[in-house]
Symmetry: C2
Subunit: 320 residues, 2 copies
């Protein structure tokens, strides 16, 4: 079973408007309301791939109940810790070919709830093979909280896939216990090592992955390069992943779908080339759908066959 | 007891933002969420005046429960009919000295719920002296629905205060059973009689109130004229109400507060001049508060003394 963590989920409201009229009233007939948050996208994709998953994190109030009922509608198993505060709304206004978002910060989590969640997490993870941790931490929670949860997971020999950025990622990497996998894009990798990185500069990225001291204790790192595929470091080897061109419909959530693919492959102990292919296919499947955090498995095989995974530099290249 | 009717309540969300950045992410720390809808403003003001009130209407889903819990926090008694759909959100973005609103239309009410509400209303109104009906009707409900509810109220000899506009108001006035009171502003009065009306033209308004055929069967009509006070017709007499100047903080909800004052005065059988003064004071008290649909009774007496109510034309004038 895969456990997906979402510490600050939201009820996402989408308002399609032809025009947004400023300083006036905009009336809307077809608002869409869905369970949101990166970890919930991961859970939805795993559920759509018909693999066992449980979503967890913190939820509260009427909005928390609304989110849980939306998850139930999508048949996504969930065991959130209830907090005594309202979960947040996040608004996306789609108007005039633009997307204007208003993101509430959500509740401030007190020490008691933070402690209670660690116990809740320890109980849940006993049943899991793999756990994903996605997105930013809510207010009131210190940046090293993911690091604390990784401690708990590692003690039980569970693999942690960590998909966050900024201080929360830095703290997790400085901690003595490490996540099993991180998947920064080239910009996030640059922030980690204080360098500007070009997505097409495979040599530079490979060099950072092999030699940056803060990355060495992480078993598996996957750097997504958008249309250029990905570069992965597993132990001391670099793998280059090339992907076919696709007609992107909606790229939002592709990183979450990729994480879902990685979690499934790890829980099923796929070989590394297969793991990388599965992950990339999931990301592409999401980009082919209009809905964020959704995949259609009908296109899986065709895409899978078009992905190439090779050691870098290639053995030919090295020997040649 | 006063019954206040809100057929399409909302969870009002207010986002104070310094600037609204279009086509990007706006993060917000201090969203405010309150029970909204004109009839709920009326109920809140009556409750703040410490008079017995019950709020009713249609509510559903998580948002409906959220609204009910907000009412409970404000100690507003309520007996809504539950529907099997989500109540709506209404968003107000306060930004760049502007107020941009996104108003969801809310659920479409089916025939079964419309019938069930008529029975619910008939039961509740048996306990009431007076009922207020405020605001627009939700989707799926015919424009003559208020007229049907007025039938029910009139059969039980209860006074109906109707505060709506457009087709719902027209249908209510064309119906054989009439509301006891309507309170159009001068523009809404103009729409009713297909004339352009100037708020300062007391003679024209007086003439319409006394002679427009569609208005004759309504016992009491109050035309609010903003800073110019109001003009009222009770049976065949016109009353002119003059109000002092005040420093308006937030005029939104003043019409609802005025309706609350009218409902209280009618339920307590005030004399007509006192009724008119109480109503105007409540409207002004709301305008002096930052919160919509809120009053501070500490200022009541001082304002009450400054309001003048006279017959129009004055008996002096007629005799002189």
């Amino acid at each position: 079973m895969i456990l997906t963590l979402t510490m600050n989920p939201s009820l996402d409201i989408s308002y399609p408007l032809k025009h947004l009229v400023i300083n006036n009233v905009n009336r809307i007939d077809d608002a869409k309301k869905t369970a949101g948050g990166k970890g919930l996208n991961v859970a939805r994709v795993i559920q759509m791939a018909q693999k066992p998953v449980i979503a967890t994190g913190l939820l509260g109030g009427h909005i928390g109940q609304y989110i849980q009922d939306e998850l139930a509608k999508d048949s996504i198993a969930h065991q959130f810790l209830s907090i005594n505060q309202e979960s947040r709304h996040c608004i996306a206004i789609l108007h005039d070919s633009a997307q204007t978002e208003i993101l509430e910060s959500g509740p401030t989590i007190n020490q008691q709830d933070q402690q209670a969640f660690k116990q809740h997490f320890a109980n849940l993870i006993a049943q899991a093979d793999v756990v994903t941790m996605s997105g930013s931490l809510p207010k009131g929670i210190a940046a090293n909280y993911y690091a604390q949860l990784i401690d708990i997971a590692n003690k039980q020999h569970k693999k942690v896939l960590l998909d966050c950025s900024g201080q929360a990622l830095k703290e997790a990497l400085q901690h003595h216990e490490k996540p099993y996998l991180i998947k920064p894009n080239h910009e996030e990798l640059g922030l980690l090592v204080n360098k500007t990185i070009d997505a097409t500069n495979v040599e530079q990225i490979s060099d950072i992955l092999l030699h940056a001291p803060e990355l060495q204790a992480i078993p598996l790192i996957i750097v997504s390069l958008g249309q250029y595929g990905a570069l992965a470091r597993y132990q001391q080897q670099i793998w280059r992943v090339s992907i076919p061109r696709i007609n992107v419909i909606n790229p939002v959530g592709s990183g979450d779908a990729t994480l879902a693919g990685l979690a499934i492959a790890l829980s099923e102990q796929s070989t590394l080339p297969t793991l990388l292919k599965r992950a990339m296919v999931f990301g592409m499947l999401n980009a082919l759908e209009a809905k964020t955090g959704a995949i259609n498995l009908a296109h899986y095989d065709a895409l899978f066959k078009q992905i190439e995974v090779n050691l870098y530099p290639s053995p030919h290249h090295v020997s040649g």
